[in-house]
């Protein structure tokens, strides 16, 4: 933990469809400077979640949206995070 103390502490909110791939967690705390880094750290902890978040080319999948503070993130890699930010993942669902 100490060696990355400079990175902001953020919370990633996981919706129901993704929870089974993250040990059932509703949220996870990570230290990360960008949205992309936060998602990579999460994927590092939960490989199955990584497969659901990223395609083979390493891009966030087209059915998963990422929001920070209610605003949609277009480019996770360049989206800087601040201390206490909340990253919300919103995958598409189709039930009716």
């Amino acid at each position: 933990m100490e060696e990355t103390a400079a990175a902001p502490h953020v919370t990633v909110k996981l919706p129901a469809p993704l929870r089974p791939h993250a040990g059932g967690r509703e949220e996870a705390r990570v230290e990360a400077s960008t949205v992309g880094e936060a998602l990579r750290r999460l994927a590092g902890r939960h490989a199955a979640l990584g497969a659901h978040l990223f395609d083979d080319a390493g891009r966030v999948r087209g059915h998963v949206n990422v929001f920070v503070g209610g605003r949609r993130v277009d480019d996770p890699a360049s989206e800087a995070l601040g201390e206490g930010d909340e990253v919300r993942l919103v995958p598409s669902i189709a039930g009716g």
Binding site: P17, R61, F67, R71, S92, I93, A94
Partner: protein
């Protein structure tokens, strides 16, 4: 009605030509007494034509509230029959309706709520071939469908036709709602650029859903449809509403039109309806029936050969009849096994979550056919089994639901 702004071109003018009778004035009195609605607004509702795709969980509350509100013409698209497993959330249908076409029970219920409403029923599966014909001429579409291909189909058809798409979707305890395809707001594809890989997001049939949740989300869709018709308020266009019934938490996130959207962007590449089953990585209807894989994405096997990772219910029946019985593994939950199972054919229950710890019960050299309710969980199981060296593992396409439909009509369904 000073604040109303017409959102459906021509609707206000159509409404002016209508009159409200005494019974309608009495029925809609609590609407009309609000200055925001008034008699003019109620006439706009009467003039409106709203089409609901799906008469299920979302379509039930949406249709009932829209009928009660006095929307003049309601369209319903559904090809299903009422099943016992619908009744915990689909309030258009009652216990006595089990086995009836949903459109029949929906019509009865809606006309009982409001005989002033005209119902147009489309008892068909919405396809790329018929969607523009079915959706054309409606003022508002309410998407309450239950699968990704239909959602992309409805979106694209609405964009091509210029019809607002009041969209809602549910999963377990969570829901989403928005209004797509109006003014400069986004369409569904702007937000959900691609469908999830097949099987990545289970359906409600697989994952379950809180029966009350479509009541919340479908009612929100009805409210948005009424606002579009009346030209009142601020719709969900440009916002995605996220509903969490467990936390009873409603929040919204901003969404915007994508200039590069293939359907509604500045240089659209999708200018007609496409093959949405293929777009969603699913085998087409014919492939699902094992007839041929043509028209699907080509990468998917059609279950024809013994090396395929899929098998149809008819192929399984044939193998059983020929005495070539594979190891049959049911990866559903115990309660589902209690409703129906293939125990007589030699099936054993190994719930998906227990599979990794029970591999020693399976023989790597034998053919293994895995089934679940509709084929999603078993697809995951087969992928896992093949990774673990069970190279003859195959997924029963369509699951036990397909078995009940094609092979054993007496089997209880859910």
């Amino acid at each position: 009605m000073a604040d109303a702004a017409e959102r459906i071109p021509g609707l206000f003018r159509r409404a002016e030509a209508l009159e409200l009778g005494t019974d309608e004035l009495r029925r809609y009195g609590r609407h009309i007494s609000m200055p925001e609605v008034g008699e003019e607004g109620q006439k706009r509702l009467k003039a409106a034509r709203v089409l609901l795709v799906g008469a299920g969980g979302l379509g039930s509350p949406a249709a009932m509230y829209l009928a009660a509100a006095g929307v003049g013409t309601l369209g319903l698209v559904d090809f299903d029959e009422v099943d016992f497993s619908n009744l915990h959330r689909q309030l258009l249908h009652g216990t006595a309706d089990v086995g009836r076409p949903k459109l029949d029970s929906a019509r009865d219920r809606l006309l009982d709520l409001n005989p002033e409403v005209s119902i147009e029923a489309f008892g068909t599966r919405l396809t790329s071939q018929n969607a523009l014909g079915v959706l054309g001429g409606w003022d508002v579409v309410v998407d309450g469908s239950d699968n990704f291909p239909t959602r992309y189909l409805v979106n694209d058809a609405c964009v091509l036709l210029g019809i607002p798409n009041v969209w809602g979707a549910i999963f377990r305890f969570e829901g989403q709602a928005s209004v797509f395809g109006v003014s400069d707001g986004p369409c569904y594809r702007c937000i959900f650029r691609e469908p999830p890989p097949p099987g990545a997001v289970p359906s409600c049939a697989e994952a379950g859903v809180l029966g009350i949740l479509p009541g919340l989300v479908g009612t929100i869709q009805a409210a948005e449809a009424v606002k579009l018709v009346l030209g009142l308020g601020r719709t969900l266009a440009g916002r995605l509403l996220l509903v969490d019934a467990l936390g009873m938490d409603f929040r919204e996130v901003e969404i915007a039109r994508d200039p590069e959207c293939p359907v509604c962007g500045n240089a659209p590449t999708v200018t007609g309806l496409i093959d949405y089953e293929a777009f969603c990585g699913m085998p087409g209807e014919q492939a699902a029936a094992g007839a041929d894989g043509g028209g699907s994405d080509g990468a998917s096997a059609d279950g024809a050969g013994d090396t395929s990772d899929r098998i149809t219910v008819w192929q399984l029946r044939h193998k059983l009849d020929e005495g070539e019985a594979p190891v049959l593994v049911d990866v559903r939950e115990p309660f589902e096994w209690r409703i129906c199972n293939l125990e007589e054919e030699g099936a054993r229950l190994v719930p998906l979550s227990e599979l990794p710890g029970r591999l020693d019960e399976l023989d790597e050299d034998r053919e293994i056919v895995v089934y679940c309710h509709t084929g999603s969980r078993s697809a995951l199981a087969v992928r896992y089994l093949r990774q673990e060296g069970f190279v003859r593992a195959r997924n029963l396409m369509g699951g036990i639901a397909a078995w009940a439909e094609e092979i054993d009509p007496d089997m209880p369904t859910y």
